[in-house]
């Protein structure tokens, strides 16, 4: 994904060993080690924003490699927030870099200039967003601090309670009922909705089974025909993955005469040779079923 590639820039230097100096340093945050920069990802962003580092001189492919190996080290302990942030930042950087690398002649076009500005704006937004995140950290720290102090909040001693002036409600019956409606209105949860992530669960293994049934006769068919009954893209993908799996096991042969052309599929194995675990590695581990991130039963019970 490195859009640079100019021979003179430092990014032409061979990538360092991705495991060396990469990934989690002491604080568990993502650090990058490039030939012209080493430090936290955040800092990299700051330097670019202050024009102390030219975005065109950053080997984005290396940053990405490092992030991937960071993810591998982090394993299940991956912080979703960090991963998301990385994606957003990396995508913006890439966009920015692509724009900066455009031959200057083309930038004379008004539209291109506008596009460039739009990207800078996007980057500025990113920085603003990050700044407020850091401000939120400050608020969090103070909130935690303050949570260790308990204000004196006790009822008035009876003698003082009796001295209280007569209370005024200040509302009539109708206004009071309106307040009740307002107070009793169900509240929507604050959390970011993940409902858009609720894809139906598709099992590659199951699709391998379907393929095996259709192909076991030995006839030659096409991928198009094999997927004609799929109703979603996800099913097509699952079927394709299953097909690849069958291919690596030598159960089917695949032939494509022209690029992007029709894919011909032929069953080559013995009738019962294919194991039952085809596609299993694509599916969730059986014991992980209940914890899968992708569920079709709606994680959040919320009104539509």
């Amino acid at each position: 994904m490195d859009a640079g590639g100019r021979a003179t820039s430092p990014l032409a230097a061979p990538p360092e060993d991705p495991t060396a100096g990469t990934a989690a340093s002491g604080d568990g945050r993502f650090h990058v080690t490039l030939t012209n920069f080493a430090g936290p990802f955040d800092l990299l962003l700051s330097l670019i924003s202050k024009h102390k580092l030219d975005v065109t001189e950053i080997a984005l492919s290396q940053v990405t490699d490092e992030f991937i190996s960071y993810l591998e080290v982090a394993g299940d302990g991956l912080d979703l927030g960090q991963a998301t942030e990385f994606l957003v930042v990396a995508a913006t950087l890439l966009d920015l870099k692509a724009a900066r690398l455009l031959p200057s002649a083309e930038v004379e076009d008004e539209d291109d200039l506008a596009a460039l500005e739009a990207r800078d704006l996007l980057f500025a937004r990113l920085l603003a967003y990050r700044a407020f995140r850091q401000a939120a950290d400050f608020l969090r720290a103070h909130e935690l601090d303050q949570a260790r102090r308990f204000a004196r909040e006790v009822s008035l001693e009876p003698r003082f309670a009796q001295a209280l002036p007569d209370v005024l409600l200040g509302v009539g019956v109708a206004a009071f009922a309106a307040l009740a409606v307002q107070a009793l209105q169900p509240r929507e949860p604050v959390e970011v909705s993940t409902s858009h992530l609720h894809l139906p669960r598709v099992s590659v293994r199951e699709h391998a089974g379907i393929l095996r049934k259709r192909l076991a006769g030995g006839a030659t068919t096409t991928f198009r025909a094999l997927t004609s009954d799929c109703s979603t893209t996800l099913e097509v993908v699952a079927r394709f993955l299953a097909l690849l799996d069958l291919h690596t096991r030598g159960s089917v042969s695949l032939e494509q005469l022209t690029a992007l052309g029709e894919l011909h599929v032929r069953w080559t194995a013995e009738e019962h040779a294919a194991g039952t675990d085809v596609g299993q590695e694509w599916d969730e581990r059986p014991d992980a079923t209940d914890h899968g991130a992708v569920r079709d039963d709606g994680v959040e019970p919320r009104p539509a």
Partner: protein, 186 residues
């Protein structure tokens, strides 16, 4: 009392007494702070006489089966003036809304009100109690939490003779009941 005041222990006792408005038995403090009752009693007496010597704005006195902090008698006039002049006669929006929840859901526990309001209602309930608009009546058989109801004074303030005269909310709150009861059993 010849016992030197153990500063940490004294501080802890003081902090606990500071947040409760019921008398705290010495034995409770002893258990909580993991010292024997004799030591706690020494601390309490030492603290009480320290407040006297320093002539603080509050005093520590035995009350019922425990100890409790009170404002010092001689400053009662100032406090009373603050309470009568400084306090708002009008209820805040938060207090009114909480009152509305109690009125329409009574008898209701504090945690239920809190769940409906989405915030802690301790302070507001305290205000409503001290203003005589709500009262505690019995407790929830399941959770043991106190149940709150509105009072006669509340009805008077709204010019109603009975709770049944409150307008029906059902037409205004479509399907809210089911959502709320789901909410109560997460």
């Amino acid at each position: 009392m010849t016992t030197a005041i153990d500063e940490r222990l004294r501080g802890a006792v003081e902090a606990i007494l500071f947040v409760v408005d019921t008398p705290v038995p010495a034995v409770t403090l002893a258990e909580l702070l993991d010292v024997d009752e004799v030591t706690i009693n020494e601390q309490l007496h030492a603290l009480a006489s320290e407040y006297e010597q320093q002539h603080r704005g509050f005093t520590l006195r035995p009350a019922g089966e425990g100890w409790r902090l009170y404002t010092r008698e001689e400053y009662a006039d100032h406090v009373e003036r603050y309470v009568t002049e400084g306090q708002r006669a009008r209820l805040t929006q938060a207090a009114l809304e909480t009152l509305a929840v109690v009125a329409y859901r009574q008898p209701v526990t504090r945690s239920r009100i809190s769940a409906i309001r989405g915030v802690s209602v301790d302070g507001v309930i305290r205000t409503l109690l001290s203003r005589g608009l709500v009262a505690e009546e019995g407790s929830d058989p399941q959770t043991g939490g106190g149940l709150y109801v509105t009072t006669q004074l509340f009805l008077e303030k709204l010019g109603l003779s009975s709770i049944s005269e409150l307008p029906d909310l059902a037409p205004l709150l479509p399907d809210v009941e089911s959502v709320l009861s789901e909410d109560a059993n997460p």
